[in-house]
């Protein structure tokens, strides 16, 4: 099966070109958080998406989104889906199943409902709209209906692996012949509850700068954004004579039962998914040109992933090129897996390996080729890892499309 469209919104910018430019310039998108109070938090910055003004956004879209029912994530979703559908040949979503991953859904809407319950318990003003808009299927449903959606929608909430899991569901829908085309992706926007949550765990880097795979890394930086792809059968794409971005060769999922918030130190489940994905695709580790790692910048995650990659690659480890683009975008949680899937496609299409920024001294666990500065290189196969709270692990494998 093949990918024919991709859309991306991150702190680096909105759209393929903006993100390509950001990656080439080795920029990051960490800025002060200004739309909720972070003054009493250890960390006060995040990978913040620059959004258009609401009125401008409303004027730019076809149809109407009742914006009082929505938070910033709806705009982010809309922009990413619009780009993906446009790239795929300006298709609509009529009859196209939709698989979406999210961890935080429309959390700011829920927060507003909660505040009003406490502050104005007798006032029901806007409360029903908030209850409606907070629910993931209503939030996403309102956006995708603007693009003509009529078919089933699957919303997967596997914490930080949600976006990758959603792409996995799409992969299997097409592989089984149940669908010929699926829109898949994930998103999350910043919210006070989630920001404070990661801060309470002391998982956020106090400096606001994540350093994945650095020996002295001190935490992640939360980000926000969305990534969506149009996945379809080769036959469907050829029938439409549309440009093919890449082939999707494999998806694998496994569960790490070690701890609710900590991976097994050996990265057992990650190892399982990397092996399973490569077995499905018939690919050996040395044939993978680049791994877009989960690489959060937390002490435990990065060691576990590095150990898993080392076990997976065996004696080929030194030639395995790895970077974490969360060092530039921040960790978009439920959107991360799909954003990084789009970045993997972008890397392959544009012939570059994005940099793992901010590393001063690589961690001892790093035996692979940690790509610290952007490299121009032809990539034929790219693997993307995603792991989440609760032990959700997922690996996606893309390859360059070669016309038969």
């Amino acid at each position: 099966m093949v990918v024919t469209g991709a859309g991306i919104v991150t702190a680096l910018g909105t759209g393929w070109q903006a993100n390509l430019q950001g990656l080439l310039e080795q920029r990051h998108g960490f800025r002060p958080v200004e739309f909720f109070d972070v003054s009493r938090q250890r960390a006060q910055t995040a990978g913040v998406v620059t959004l258009p003004p609401m009125a401008e956004f409303q004027a730019s879209i076809q149809g109407r989104l009742k914006l009082h029912r929505h938070d910033r994530s709806s705009i982010i979703i809309h922009q990413a889906i619009q780009e993906a559908l446009s790239m795929a040949g300006n298709i609509t979503l009529d009859g196209v199943p939709i698989c979406v991953g999210t961890s935080a859904i429309a959390m700011p809407i829920g927060e507003a409902f909660y505040r009003q319950c406490l502050d104005q318990p007798r006032s029901m003003r806007h409360q029903l709209s908030r209850v409606h808009g907070y629910q993931a299927h209503n939030q996403i449903g309102a956006v995708v209906r603007l693009f003509g959606a009529t078919a089933e929608m699957r919303i997967i909430s596997n914490a930080c692996a949600s976006g990758a899991s959603a792409i996995g569901h799409a992969f299997h829908l097409i592989r089984s012949g149940k669908a010929s085309r699926v829109l898949a992706g994930g998103f999350d926007a910043l919210s006070q509850l989630v920001f404070a949550g990661f801060d309470s765990l002391q998982a956020l880097s106090p400096s606001g700068i994540p350093r994945p795979f650095d020996a002295h890394r001190d935490g992640l930086a939360i980000g926000e954004g969305a990534g969506f792809i149009v996945l379809e059968s080769l036959q469907s794409a050829q029938n439409r004579d549309v440009e093919i971005l890449a082939e999707m060769n494999a998806y694998a999922a496994a569960t790490d039962v070690h701890h609710l918030t900590q991976p097994h130190p050996a990265g057992c489940a990650a190892l399982q998914t990397m092996h399973a994905a490569c077995n499905m695709a018939g690919v050996e580790p040395h044939e993978v040109d680049y791994i877009n790692s989960h690489g959060t910048g937390t002490p435990l995650n990065d060691v576990a992933e590095a150990n898993a990659i080392a076990s997976w690659a065996g004696d080929k480890i030194a030639q395995i090129k790895v970077s974490s683009t969360k060092s530039a975008t921040g960790h978009a949680l439920g959107g991360a897996g799909s954003i990084e899937a789009v970045i993997s496609l972008l890397a392959m299409k544009e012939g570059l390996i994005p940099a793992n920024l901010h590393v001063r001294t690589a961690d001892d666990s790093v035996k692979f080729d940690l790509v610290r500065a952007v490299r121009r290189q032809t990539l034929n196969r790219v693997l993307s890892n995603s792991f989440g709270f609760g032990g959700a692990n997922a690996t996606i494998l893309f390859s360059k499309h070669t016309a038969a």
Partner: protein, 336 residues
Amino acid sequence: MSLVIKGMGAVSPAGWNVSLLLEASLAGAVTPISLLERTANDGTIVSTPVRRVPATPSSPPWGKHSRMRRVSPISRFLVAAALEALGCERVQQCAGGQLRVAILFCTVNGCVHYSNRFFAEVLANPATASPILFPETVFNAPASHLASFLESSAPTDTLLGDEAEFFAALQISEEWLDQDAADGCLVVAAEELDWASSEAARLYHRQSVSSEGAGALYVEKSGEGVIVSTPKVIPYLDTSDRASTARLLLPDEVKTDCLVTSLRGIDRLDAAELACVQDVNCRRISPRIGLGDALSASTAFQCIVAASMVKNNLVKSATAVTLGCSEQAGIAHFTF
């Protein structure tokens, strides 16, 4: 294409097993209402009627498992229902690596209890908000605890949607079993009560009474057991006409001995569903009327009641149908 039910489990306001759920549903029993109270910032006391699950058994099925020490009710309900569905032997096989059990967990509200507590702490002082609470607010925490209990590395997905999502989960379990992703699949739905979600439900209708619990079906591809055939969901194109979507699922000529519906006993909320089911000439059971509305879990209860009636030879066939609030309608047929 069909699934075979190898086990069922339920935690509902009727009690902590399937027998109590079935008994209450067949009798049309109405479980007691209690009040959830909270104090607003201006001192106003807000009370919301709910139907609660009875107190946790003195010897809970999860024993002293370390993951279960600090979890909120949704995880307890989910694990208890799943363990009842699997049975001791399969739990041991799973932990021993002889049985691969995948998990599909669906929920509407998720972990609202700890989300509520954690956000209250954040508003009071985010610098001292509890790091123990936050991980339990994540939608997939209950499924993660269950996977940990079972020591299962098979796929574990958490699905969000409206009340009918349980049928979508049954569909996905078919896909997973076809892919050989696991030997069997636990399809579980769970919800827990808290004041925010209970008050939210009453915004849709003042007579709505929220409840809580979990329902689980353990399914495999073949073997002996009640068969679930053609689980299906159809999304609404327009939520103002849910009846026309439901009619696609439930044509006039539907043949079933019993229809287990999602009727709530509230005319305005039930109108669309009543328009579809009133002409179906068979016995009708509506667990939500007596047990309250536990959203996704109530749909699981419907499926469990339907399957249990077939299993216990009360009927030859039964059908569960749910008109979700705002996303989709779903259906599944149960026979031997």
